[in-house]
């Protein structure tokens, strides 16, 4: 049986970069054309409706920014957390809590019409979002509770809290008992930037926030620690970086940004609390974060692209009568090909014929792990690293620590796949510490299928890495 092996690329020639965007564009156009044609719609008209018509007016552009703003704010925060291998899936809940807090201030603060109102709402939203994410951080650092599950569950708690408030204590007394708060007063409403559009001044927060996060990530010691914790947990521990501190800070920062997005949405767009304030921004932002390469500035671009596809889906319905579900398929195709292109630029897929699989452990330059002739070792080879000492030769970061050089790649698995604790430590690290090569492999999930003797042998040769010891 032949096997496929995914390996990080050690070099990226220009032609590769060209292909990495040309191929997704061509693939989207081709596959999308099939979708359009199956509804008897000209592909050109379809592409026009998706990508040009939504933004061919000032109004359309303003809507694009309004839609992209919450995605960017949340996506940037998530990118930071994901870079440190902290999987915050609950931004939707942090968004909701921020909206609740901001609106609560607007409804009940004694300074109803003061200029202090908006700053107070924003501070409350930042604090509330950080608090909601802080619960996750506390559960994670205190009880080692899986943050994916706890953050996701807190989404539902937040949504039910919102429902309870709008149906009960915060319900508009003049609203015929409909589950809505009263409309926010002027002092609590973000002023429009462009008359006649919904573009609100809250959008002005977005770019500075993204730049700040970029500075934090790439120009601060904290950002450096965060990246090392994510990319090389063991190295981070050698260096004395606190994993717990990183978890707390990335979660709370991401939560605060999601909370900010929530209050900006309520104050700038909706104007009141209603049972459903988000069309899933917190979850869409996960895609946005990955689409943006977990880079704050990449997230800005990714948010614009994703927002455009949402606008495009509506425009295609209006102009061409394309059904909602078909528009969703096109949207999915685009994300799939773009994410796939990004992946294939960083990794290559090698076909390993059956004959080679037995010796694959020692073959090639990319793998220095001890050979386990059991098939499972080949399967786990998805993240084998090339022990390269040149930091520029790889797309992954190569932080240098005083006397030792560490090169590692992390497995950018979809966050949900790391829900099992054994997978979350599937980082295979090859470290060169002062010239001496030590190699570690982690047992993969599939190693349970290998016999205990094999597993035992593995452990004597290699050391098991856990990233949050």
């Amino acid at each position: 049986m032949t096997r496929l092996r995914v390996e990080p690329r050690t070099s990226a020639p220009l032609s590769l970069h060209v292909a990495a965007f040309a191929v997704p564009v061509a693939a989207t156009a081709l596959l999308g054309s099939l979708v359009f044609l199956s509804f008897s719609i000209s592909p050109l008209a379809g592409l026009h409706a998706f990508f040009v018509a939504p933004v061919s007016s000032a109004h359309g552009l303003s809507e694009l920014l309004v839609k992209a703003a919450p995605l960017t704010l949340i996506g940037c925060g998530l990118a930071l957390a994901f870079r440190s291998n902290t999987w915050n899936i609950g931004a939707e809940g942090q968004f909701t809590l921020g909206a609740i807090a901001g609106c609560g201030v607007a409804l009940f603060a004694p300074w109803q019409d003061s200029a202090l109102m908006l700053p107070a709402m924003i501070l409350a939203a930042l604090a509330a979002g950080a608090f909601w994410a802080g619960i996750v951080a506390w559960l994670r650092t205190r009880f080692a509770a899986n943050e994916i599950l706890s953050s996701l569950m807190l989404v539902y708690v937040a949504q039910f809290l919102l429902l309870w408030l709008v149906q009960g204590p915060w319900r508009d007394p003049d609203g015929f008992n409909f589950p809505e708060t009263r409309l926010l007063q002027d002092a609590a409403t973000l002023s429009p930037l462009l008359p006649g559009t919904r573009l609100h001044s809250g959008v002005l927060f977005v770019l500075p926030a993204a730049v700040c996060l970029w500075l934090i990530l790439y120009r601060s010691l904290f950002g450096f620690q965060l990246r090392v914790v994510g990319a090389a947990p063991r190295a981070a521990r050698f260096a004395g970086f606190s994993r717990a501190r990183i978890i707390w800070l990335t979660l709370c920062l991401g939560g605060a940004l999601a909370g900010l997005a929530g209050t900006l949405e309520v104050s700038g767009v909706i104007g009141q609390l209603v049972p459903r304030i988000s069309p899933g921004y917190g979850f869409t932002a996960i895609i946005v974060a990955f689409l943006g390469g977990l880079h704050p500035l990449g997230v800005v671009a990714a948010a614009l692209l994703v927002a455009l596809t949402y606008l495009g889906a509506e425009t295609a319905q209006i102009l061409l009568g394309l059904p909602h579900a078909a528009a969703g398929i096109f949207q999915g195709l685009l994300l799939f090909t773009v994410l796939g292109g990004g992946f294939l630029r960083r990794y290559r897929v090698r076909v390993i014929p059956r004959a080679e699989t037995a010796t694959a452990g020692t073959a090639g330059t990319t793998k220095t792990a001890p050979s386990l002739s059991s098939p499972s070792s080949t399967i786990t080879g998805t993240t084998k690293t090339a022990p390269s000492l040149s930091p520029s030769s790889s797309t992954t970061t190569a932080p240098s620590l005083s006397s030792s050089t560490i090169t590692e790649t992390t497995k950018t698995a979809a966050p949900l796949s790391s829900s099992s604790s054994s997978l979350s430590s599937t980082t295979t690290a090859t470290e060169t510490v002062t010239g001496k090569v030590t190699t570690k492999t982690t047992p993969s999930l599939s190693s349970s299928s290998s016999s205990s003797t094999t597993a035992g042998t593995t452990k004597t040769v290699t050391k098991t890495e856990t990233d949050d010891g």
Binding site: L163, G168, P179, E314
Partner: protein, 362 residues
């Protein structure tokens, strides 16, 4: 990666732009009246949205080339709604129907921005010079359903799958209970909220929970046939919602409260064509044909004739459903002997009658 996104996005946009320039736009000729519809669910929900889309098609049939219609389906009742409504307005739609309560404030805001466009909002209470409201007195149909349930239930417990605890839904629950108790005074109605208009999975689960708890008749105020299907699977009587759902439960649907928007939509489009459209508030019941009962099926003739009698009495106004004395389950006297609740009280109803079980957030 980030560069890749930028360039990809740019390339896609640029390619499409280049192409579109050459393509040319379709020539606008006789300028038909453009009528837009904003739906909260998919047109294939077989319920609420499906019926609105039937109404849209009735407009097309009636006026032919003189109108062209557009719809946007599955629009979130959140920040997206106003964008979709505005988009329709800016695309030259002269008459726009927004067909869910959650579109109320977005409709009002869009109407301020497009004063020359006429808007029609279903089930809301805010109007403007260019915003009308309309709704059906669906509770009348629910009363008739209740009469049937009173005859059909053996255990005396009826399951009610509710969407949101808004007056529209609460009113339907109370009307249903009054119908059932007019036959059998000890009947109880258990309500489960799914907090969504359209979520077949949750709707089905809610119906199943109610059946497991002993309900032997199921009714619903959500948009998909899922509760009806769950009831059919359990061999329990159920009622279709918004449209005749007999295809989903051929042996267990006893009737359905059918929304019929055809006449209203045609009339409003005609008013715009004739130039005499005015903002108005319409609340039509069985008497206007906005609410209809599907065929009474799968029941003994005695039950069907009781239903027909109740339907006739409500339609003629001979029987007023919310006639006193009515006391809420909290013991508050709502109306005295012989009096009838007025429309304002009906529109703001936030209390359950004695006999309704389940939480009512307050």
């Amino acid at each position: 990666m980030k560069l890749g996104i930028f360039t990809t996005a740019l390339a896609v946009v640029a390619a499409a732009a280049a192409v579109s320039g050459a393509r040319g736009l379709p020539a606008a000729s006789a300028e038909p009246l453009k009528v837009g519809f904003v739906y909260v669910g998919p047109v294939g929900d077989h319920g609420w949205t499906y019926r609105h889309d039937i109404g849209r098609r009735a407009v097309e049939e009636e006026f032919g080339d003189k109108v062209s219609t557009t719809f946007v389906e599955s629009v979130n009742e959140g920040p997206d709604a106003e964008r979709v409504i505005s988009r329709l307005a800016s695309e030259g739609h002269d008459l726009i129907f927004t067909t869910s309560f959650g579109f109320m404030n977005p409709t009002i805001k869009a109407a301020e921005r497009f004063p020359d466009v006429r808007f029609e909002h279903a089930t809301g209470y805010k109007r403007a010079d260019n915003v009308s409201t309309y709704a059906g007195r669906f509770y009348e149909g629910r009363y008739v359903s209740g009469v049937m349930a009173g005859h059909l239930s053996e255990g005396g417990v009826i399951g009610y799958v509710g969407s949101f605890p808004i007056p529209e839904v609460v009113r339907g629950v109370n009307a249903f209970l009054l119908g059932a108790r007019s036959v059998r005074p000890d009947i109880r109605v258990q309500v489960v909220w799914v907090n969504s208009w359209y979520d077949p999975g949750r709707e089905r689960d809610a119906a199943q929970v109610l059946i497991d708890r002993g309900a032997d008749v199921i009714t619903q105020h959500t948009d998909s046939p899922a509760p009806l299907q769950a009831a059919a699977a359990a061999g329990v009587y159920a009622f279709g919602q918004a449209s005749d759902m007999i295809a989903f439960a051929p042996d267990t649907q006893v009737t359905a409260v059918v929304d019929n928007w055809d006449r209203y939509y045609v009339a409003r489009a005609r008013a715009v064509l004739d130039g005499d459209w005015e903002s108005s508030d319409t609340w039509g019941g069985l008497d206007t044909g906005m609410v209809e009962m599907a065929a009474y099926t799968n029941v003994p003739e005695s039950v069907a004739s009781a239903a027909r009698a109740a339907e006739a009495a409500v339609r003629s106004g001979e029987h007023r459903i919310f006639t006193g004395p009515l006391v809420s389950r909290d013991g508050v006297r709502k109306i005295g002997e012989g009096e009838v609740l007025d429309d304002d009280a009906l529109l703001a109803m936030d209390w359950f009658l004695e006999g309704v079980e389940g939480e009512l957030p307050n």
